[in-house]
Amino acid sequence: MGPVLDVVLSTGFLAAILGVSTPYVLAALGGLLAERAGVPNIALEGSMLSAACTGALVAGYSGSVWAGAVCGIAAGALLALLLGVLHLYLGADAIIAGIGLNLLAAGATSYTVFALLGDKGGTSRLHSGALPSVRLPLIEDIPGVGAVLSGQNVLTWAALAATPVVAWLLYRTRFGFHLRAVGEHPEAARSVGIHVHRVQFRALALSGALAGAAGVFLSMGAVSFFVTGMTAGRGYIALAAVFLGALRPCGVFLAALGFGTAEALAVQLGNLDVPSQLVSAIPYVFTLLALAFFAWRRRRASRTDAAPAPLAGPAVLESP
């Protein structure tokens, strides 16, 4: 256990957690917005992938990482809007259309990369660069904390900031109120004059943009190039975090952080004498345990709510 504890308590591990969690947090918050607006956005993976590809390509050709990041995020939003068109206007099933869009993103990105660079593997020959890391002049001198917080990518900070922003948007703004109303009961929302589709479109655009930021982090933060299929299922894991987090910004953030921690732990433990299959199962075991825990808590909560009612009800009525 000694070496395991050393690893887990090291500042490098804590710093790695933040980096690994960044795409999960961003994409999961995106998934949350769409889900709360009543449109399951299973195309998070596709948004991430197209954003990762667009970001690296634009940055490589324009020479500006910021132009790349903006275009990448826009590409993510665009894919989500396409889901909106297919689902809201054409009436396609959101899940089927979402899967279709994920496949479209996989095919279109590798095709585009090949058409532009003649390379089917990725954009590594294009020196697209990465978004800058943020150094914190005073904090980086604090032992322990400095090594964890300083030097993180700017998008990692964006992910940390996005959680309160999304919470504020959902619970403190008129738009958020409409968004939740549309998600809860579209007919009721329509009856009071809310333009349901318009709200859902905006939610999807934001959702895709957040997933896009997650994709941009992968190709312009975690590494500095795009490789076909490099999102490797992270969009689906983010979707799991949306539900694991009970559809609340804070919960979703913690769930995504949990997935990031499990993955970072798997990476660190892989070098110790732990079987690789066991290590790679960690994130999934974590999901199952968390889901079981939440189900158990909900059941206990509903039991304690329900149990006193039949007993207390008549007793109160009969006694004068």
Binding site: V7, S10, G12, A16, G19, V20, P23, L86, H87, L90, G91, A92, D93, I96, A97, G100, L101, L103, L104, A106, G107, A108, S110, Y111, F114, G118, D119, K120, G121, G122, S124, R125, H127, L218, A222, V223, S224, F225, V227, T228, G229, M230, A232, G233, E263, A264, V267, Q268, G270, N271, S276, Q277, S280
Partner: protein, 364 residues
């Protein structure tokens, strides 16, 4: 409403299929009449990996000029669900004499198709069919030539070199650590063969592989195309005291080179000379050597033997160091980073492996 819903879904899906559909690249179509032997190279993936398939393609391409073959390439893409039908389509045409395919993933397809088309020849590289007739081929694969690579032999030399370099603290600017790391894509026999060979070589050079060799696998949904994870693993290895890291994980490995630059440490390449193929100058400087599986050379030799009528169908073949089927790269960077004494020792080991004096353990 239902019609529209279906239409929407169909539109989305058909766009996708168009985008990642099977592409056929016909290099020559008229060859059947001219009496040339026609090779059809069916790729369960895509060209452009700048390593394995590209090497095979280069070797086959060379047979056109040197040996008078004609070549047709069919790329099936990375979607496994399309491979089976892709192979059946490719085999059913009458536009080929030899069907070439690679990797263990295609063994099942070849075993099924070879008995169905007994007049055709099948070349399988980096995988072997079952010639006993107990499983797979019903005709004991009498028309199949399969060749595997003794990657364990080349990996043995990599392990030997790695230990010599770290033990002598020979790498300039190194931190004096005595560990090295190997990143595998996923724990399957062909990757394990690299790991087993590497550890054996590390031990033969005097190192202790159980404490000195860190091994980890990328795994997940896309083990050979997840560079972010490859980079995390490499960073963790450098953080735990690895002096050099050897990624054997396709495109995931590209992340490891970025990590090496950040950590100011070293790497080995795999499958192609990554000192040449990497485009970033600072990443290239980290590549001490690359371990090669020379698929192109193996196929070229097969084509040559086939033309002479000496190619051994119906039994498995394996090429190693002695046949130049696998090897390591000795280039200017190798010259710069590897001390002359270590080079001499390495060359002596290579000679021993070639002559059979050293038997390298295998994962198969």
């Amino acid at each position: 409403m239902d019609k529209i819903r279906i239409l929407g879904a169909v539109a989305a899906l058909s766009l996708t299929l168009a985008a990642c559909g099977v592409s056929t690249d016909s290099d020559s179509t008229e060859s059947g009449k001219s009496g040339k032997l026609r090779i059809k190279f069916v790729i369960n993936g895509n060209l452009g990996d700048r390593s394995f398939f590209d090497s095979a393609y280069a070797g086959l391409k060379k047979t056109e000029k040197d040996l008078g073959y004609s070549l047709k390439v069919v790329e099936l893409g990375s979607d496994r669900t399309k491979w089976s039908s892709g192979f059946e389509d490719a085999a059913s045409g009458d536009d080929y004499d030899v069907l070439a395919a690679g990797t263990v993933d295609t063994v099942g397809f070849i075993s099924k198709l070879a008995p169905e088309y007994p007049d055709k020849k099948f070349w399988l590289f980096d995988g072997s069919v079952d010639y006993t007739g107990r499983s797979g081929c019903s005709n004991k694969c009498a028309n199949v030539y399969s060749v595997t690579f003794k990657q364990n032999e080349a990996a043995y030399l990599a392990g030997f070199l790695a230990d010599k370099l770290v033990a002598a603290k020979a790498l300039p600017g190194g931190a004096g650590n005595e560990k090295v790391g190997v990143i595998g894509g996923v724990q399957i026999p062909v990757i394990e063969d690299f790991v087993v060979g590497f550890k054996a070589g590390f031990k033969a050079a005097g190192g202790n592989p159980s404490s000195g060799v860190l091994v980890q696998y990328v795994g997940g949904d896309n083990p050979f195309g997840d560079p972010a994870k490859g980079k995390q693993i490499a960073s963790a290895m450098y953080g735990q005291g690895a002096e050099l890291v050897w990624p054997v994980a396709g495109s995931s490995g590209l992340g490891a080179f970025e990590s090496a630059v950040a950590a100011k440490r070293y790497t080995f390449g795999v499958d192609s000379d990554q000192f040449k193929t990497l485009t970033d100058a600072s990443q290239r400087q980290t590549v001490v050597t690359s371990i090669l599986k020379n698929a192109g050379n193996a196929l070229y030799l097969a084509a040559k033997a086939n033309k002479a009528g000496t190619l051994a169908y119906g039994k498995p073949a394996a090429v190693g160091l002695a046949e130049n089927g696998v090897g390591y790269v000795d280039n200017t960077n190798f010259d710069k980073l590897v001390p002359a004494a270590v080079r001499t020792e390495l060359e002596a080991q290579a000679a021993k492996v070639k002559s059979g004096a050293v038997k390298v353990p295998s994962a198969f």
